[in-house]
């Protein structure tokens, strides 16, 4: 009688299936399970997209130079905006420009509201703010305020 797999067991065997380490019977059982189970079938197809990098023993050789022009053509047909190498530096440049503008604006704001103070003594001997604004003639007594 043919052994049936549950989904957990089936997914555990994906790796061995990819590496061709299953016996013919095990392979048949797994394939039969995937034919019946839509979720495992989909999981295997997802697995297959990353498996060449994670599970293959050896990589196929790089393309020969003769094949390269076709690849280059395919790349040149892409819209330039989505090509990674062109896009990334521009983003970096924009970020640095934005940072520089921000720093310049912060410095300008800081120096526009902060008066330079030469020393602590100068600061302590400075006239009160009201005198600085309205002059020393402004002398308000408590009687004036009262009446």
């Amino acid at each position: 009688m043919e052994k049936k797999l549950n989904c957990f067991e089936a997914r555990q065997e994906f790796r061995a299936f990819w590496r061709r380490e299953l016996t013919p019977e095990q392979r048949t059982t797994l394939v039969a399970h995937m034919a019946e189970c839509l979720k495992c079938d989909r999981a295997f197809r997802d697995f297959a997209l990353s498996a060449p990098a994670l599970h293959s023993a050896e990589e196929p050789p790089r393309r020969s130079p003769a094949d390269r022009p076709a690849m280059r053509d395919a790349h040149s047909q892409r819209p330039p905006a989505v090509v990674r190498s062109r896009f990334a530096p521009r983003r970096g440049l924009a970020m640095s420009a934005a940072a520089m503008v921000l720093v310049a604006a912060s410095l300008a704001a800081y120096f526009s509201v902060t008066a330079p103070i030469d020393s602590l003594n100068d600061e302590l001997s400075a006239e009160p703010a009201a005198t600085q604004l309205f002059g020393s003639d402004l002398n308000i007594s408590s009687e004036d305020l009262a009446g």
Binding site: F17, F44, L49, V82
Partner: protein
């Protein structure tokens, strides 16, 4: 004739002497023996580096660097752990650091597929599982696309996925190599799979949109 006999003898010596014996010899001053040790482990080390970096030259450079580190740290090697596992920890940490150094942020998957890549994805969507496995062996684009997919992961996630899926290590072994808690390894493995699934879906829908 003599040369054949000598090479057979060398092969026999390589096959018979254990890693520990070779290491003892190196530590006793026979430094040339390290090349025997390196020859024995080089294929595995290079393959592991290739899981991290698809570029063959980078993988070879990292493998070389790993052997240099192993040589300089050989005095700290303890017999409780097999040499292969000790070396794997060195390689993994080296590749992980390099991955982090190169990319502070994971790359975004750029939906600009070449015609062979689109063909491969269509095959993955439509062919039988056995046809997919058979086709993947010869197709360079399958590897390129898989590497691009892995490039979208964070360095931690990619490392955990490689150690768990390719090297078939368990959570505690990964935690020991990386110096992380087991909880962190579990979380990273979960997030890696989740991210991979999301990116696979994005890739498939980009191809479907292109077909319309």
């Amino acid at each position: 004739m003599l040369g054949l006999a000598a090479s057979r003898k060398t092969a026999w010596r390589l096959a018979v002497r254990t890693d520990e014996e070779l290491i003892a010899e190196i530590l006793n001053g026979e430094t040339a023996t390290f090349s025997e040790l390196a020859t024995r482990h080089r294929p595995r080390v290079e393959r592991l580096c290739q899981r991290f970096f698809s570029d063959a030259e980078t993988a070879r450079d990292l493998a070389q660097e790993a052997f240099i580190r192993a040589y300089t740290a050989l005095a700290t090697y303890r017999r409780e752990m097999p040499f292969g596992a000790w070396l794997r920890a060195i390689v993994t940490n080296l590749c992980y650091d390099e991955l982090r150094r190169r990319r502070r942020r994971p790359e975004e998957l750029v939906a600009d597929f070449t015609a062979p890549e689109v063909q491969w994805m269509n095959l993955v969507n439509e062919a039988t599982p056995e046809e997919i496995v058979a086709a993947a062996e010869e197709r360079r684009e399958a590897h390129d696309l898989a590497n691009r997919l892995l490039d979208t992961l964070r360095a931690e996630d990619r490392t955990v996925l490689i150690l768990k899926d390719s090297e078939e290590l368990n959570v505690s072994e990964i935690a020991e190599i990386m110096g992380w808690s087991e909880a962190k390894v579990k979380i990273r493995a979960f997030r890696a799979r989740q991210a991979l699934r999301k990116q696979s879906e994005a890739m498939k829908s980009a191809v479907r949109r292109g077909r319309r």
